[in-house]
Symmetry: C2
Subunit: 518 residues, 2 copies
């Protein structure tokens, strides 16, 4: 790869071109403002669609052929079925059968269940992936084996890129737990209910051709219509679109680890002492065991004081649903359901609302929900002394995770990362992170089992916590403690070949992921 | 006005240019297919919007000035408050105060309550109106007094025109019964609840600047968000956005006229004998007294036979809501609520669903709901022997009504117009209509108190009704009977100056409205 490189505003070396397309280096938070127009899809005409609304095709192959599937096309899928998706692989099996080459796959995220697609990355059916690459697909990429360069985006960044025409999707395939023949589709009901379909919203709005694949066809109208049939070209009925048990995220139980419980306790105590937990506040906690435990602490505090939160952002789960149904939080603005209680609640509770990356995360909108959240609690694989954080690579340099909504969420009023100081004797707080996913200026607090560091930019928080009983330290103290125990970690060894880039929420490149040298 | 004219596919003389913009003459149903892209709004950035989501401005004037209000701009409003709107006039009072000239007003419809704006049409504050012109504004236009030419569009045609960039809105002002400071807004609750805000959807998606005006500001999040705050620039709180009693449409009671009851009875009998009323069927009846009565007959038939309709299209009213709550119809897909029972039902009933001109009517989508309706019952001011129908002008040539969803609805599987054979001794069925709003090929059945005419194109319906006891006649028989009673009507006298055009659902011009010569 002969790309040229420039240093971006964080001093990271990033390519000026990715897969032949010129790129803009990260310029700082809120610094890059495009002066151009959104992507404009072609105008359709009802004259080209069946008047009776019946868009069904016998099979996915028919629909793909009618959509004009050919070499080099950009194909998108969503990940609401997580590790239980049964549709994405079928698309590329069909492409292989038809002898199609050099497809670009744009999933909202890929999972281990899709690692069989490595064979199509190897044989040229798929040229490269733009989207999260978890597990094996990430490792394959890190090893430099993917033909093209990977492009990692947050959920909001993916919406932004599609809206702005940075990714032009030829064919979107939307797996739907329930749909009608017109293409109206919902994720909140049906035998394989997964909750929402918001990750496919941009695809439905901007893709040239849109195929809805369902295993539960209902008479028109499918209500609610999370995906609007007016954006859909074809509807295909298959035996099963997803495996319900695998839709559920791995971490749906609160942690039992004493270290993690300590992180949860300190984080909630911090929020309380900093005055964040108050009547009408808002919060977002992720799906991990620590985050779930923090939700429990929040609920206890609210219950004791007779207060309630105005809204919480989901990923929803049974704990958040219980808070809603107990009246401790008035609304869940949900982006994806992490368990089946979340799915049930979406159907039953008026205050459990279907959101999308457009409403919640799109940085190229007229504001979004993420910056309005009072406190967000997230994870990280590494944090450095400048509070820059990494969520995609491990300290050995291997790409193993997607960004999810993480980059979007750190726009909140207070972003807290409760993380262990080290994992497997590898320091998590360090001099420099392997990959910067979020700039330090947006990370406010690091909570570890050896102490809590507050970003020096947050003088207000430092002032509020000056008499706290919590062990407030500097980030350098935490790094030194980690290194005192584990030693100074070696840097991972890379070649000079970039294998993927990490986009910032505005479409600029915040960092590069390099080929492992081993 | 020096526009040139051409004859369109219906033989009507239409201008080749309107207000300086080249136009396409009507080419036939489904014949015009634009090969171009939708309108692409400018890309926004969250960096330019308050992170805490508070977009409130002290007043509408501030918001209009911040939106860059200046000469020649295109300003849009919606008509969900119908004759009780209190916001549109304020916009132009402010424009007048600021000395702004030549604005184009694009309401989804205008009503008598806005006739005071005639002074601004006269003094040059407003150049012309694109949108329905009911009553006095229509008469003003017919008299040739408006500076520019009026453009009449259906609800779906308005969405199409905004989506396709045929109307580029500079500032949309959206009056909302409930909203939050971020701009999320809903019509289904609040002291001035009007049900929906769907007529403002296109405006919110495509206008350069969007101002939400509300009299009921609630803490974020306003749920449901019929209008998404992510599309909104400014929020203004005023004392009152609409007068609830006037939101209610005039005709909300079933007819007591024996002639109209006969039309209703024959129409429902026709539907029954033609096999249209069956388990799972769908229908749309308008808001008039006759249409309401037909709904009652449908309900009786369904109840007697233990059947139910799968869906009905609203305008909703207390009769349709009762059918929903009695289990005689499973879903109301609502476009506007005609009474407060409709508003209540929208809030309370899962099956009473918020739709928009995009889902229901946009001809430049991938299908729409209108063509899927089994039977639609509509009115008309005139019908001719070719089944062409008029809904905007009276037989004296005066523009007095908007198109509403009428043009969109006639795409249904069976379109029935129950109309009196004459009104005030003026034949309604005639040789030629004053203005063609809908081509005869889409009008299937005319029901009058002297007989029923079936469009010869509908051989299937003629066959089904051949043994009917209903008085089936030809359209020419009906015309002859009307003329035998009333005499052959004089044609209205026009000058050769066009004052407005009627767009077809695809953006082409189906007919011209001429200046009255009197």
């Amino acid at each position: 790869m002969s790309a040229n490189f420039v240093k971006n505003a964080l001093g990271r070396l990033v390519p000026t071109e990715v897969n032949g397309v010129p790129q803009i280096p990260y310029m700082g938070v809120g610094k890059y403002k495009p002066i151009r127009r959104k992507y404009a899809p072609l105008i359709s005409s009802c004259a080209d669609y069946p008047a009776d609304g019946n868009k069904t095709e016998p099979g996915l192959k028919d629909a793909l052929i009618k959509s004009g599937l050919r070499d080099g096309m950009v194909i998108s899928t969503h990940h609401h079925f997580r590790n239980g998706d049964l549709v994405a692989i079928q698309i590329f099996d069909i492409a292989k059968e038809l002898g199609i080459k050099d497809l670009v796959w744009v999933p909202s995220a890929s999972f281990e269940c899709q690692s069989v697609l490595i064979k199509y990355l190897e044989d040229g059916t798929i040229h490269h992936i733009e989207g999260s690459m978890n597990g094996s697909l990430g490792r394959f990429t890190s090893q430099g084996k993917m033909k093209g360069m990977g492009i990692l985006r947050s959920h909001g960044g993916r919406y932004q890129a599609i809206q702005d025409g940075e990714v032009i999707i030829d064919i979107a395939v939307i797996a739907a737990p329930t749909a009608d023949a017109f293409g109206n589709a919902t994720g909140d009901r049906g035998p394989t209910a997964c909750g929402l379909l918001g990750f496919a919203l941009a695809d439905s709005q901007y893709a040239n051709k849109v195929i809805v694949v369902t295993d539960n066809l209902v008479p028109f109208p499918c209500i609610p219509w999370q995906i609007q049939g007016n954006n859909v070209d074809y509807v295909v009925v298959v035996a099963q679109v997803g495996i319900p048990e695998k839709i559920v995220s791995g971490t749906t139980e609160i942690t039992k680890s004493p270290d993690r419980l300590l992180l949860a306790e300190w984080t909630s105590q911090f929020c309380d002492e900093a005055g964040i937990i108050r009547d009408g506040f808002s919060f977002q906690a992720g799906a991990g065991g620590t985050a779930l435990s923090i939700g429990i602490y929040f609920a206890d505090i609210l219950r004791q004081r007779g207060m309630k939160a105005r809204w919480a952002r989901g990923g929803s789960n049974k704990y958040l649903v219980k808070m809603l149904e107990d009246g401790l939080v008035e609304n869940i603005l949900d982006g994806q359901t992490f368990d089946l209680e979340g799915v049930r609640s979406m159907r039953e509770n008026f205050g459990h609302v279907n959101t999308s990356p457009f409403t919640s995360y799109n940085y190229h909108g007229k504001g979004n929900f993420a910056s309005m959240v009072d406190v967000v609690i997230l994870g990280a694989t590494e944090v450095d002394v400048n509070y820059n954080a990494n969520v995609v690579t491990h300290s050995d340099g291997t790409l193993l995770h997607g960004i999810g909504g993480w980059q979007n969420c750190i726009a909140s009023k207070c972003t807290i990362l409760p993380i262990p100081l080290f994992r497997d004797r590898m320091p998590i707080v360090r001099e420099e992170v392997t990959t910067i996913c979020g700039p330090g200026e947006l990370i406010d607090v690091i909570v570890t089992e050896r102490g809590i560091a507050i970003n020096p930019l947050r003088k207000d928080l430092i002032e509020k916590m000056k008499n706290s009983s919590l062990p407030i330290k500097t980030i350098n103290q935490l790094k030194d403690e980690a290194e005192a125990i584990c030693g100074v970690p070696d840097k991972p060894k890379f070649t000079n070949k970039p294998v993927a880039v990490v986009k910032w929420v505005d479409g600029t490149i915040i960092d590069t992921i390099w080929q492992l040298d081993d």
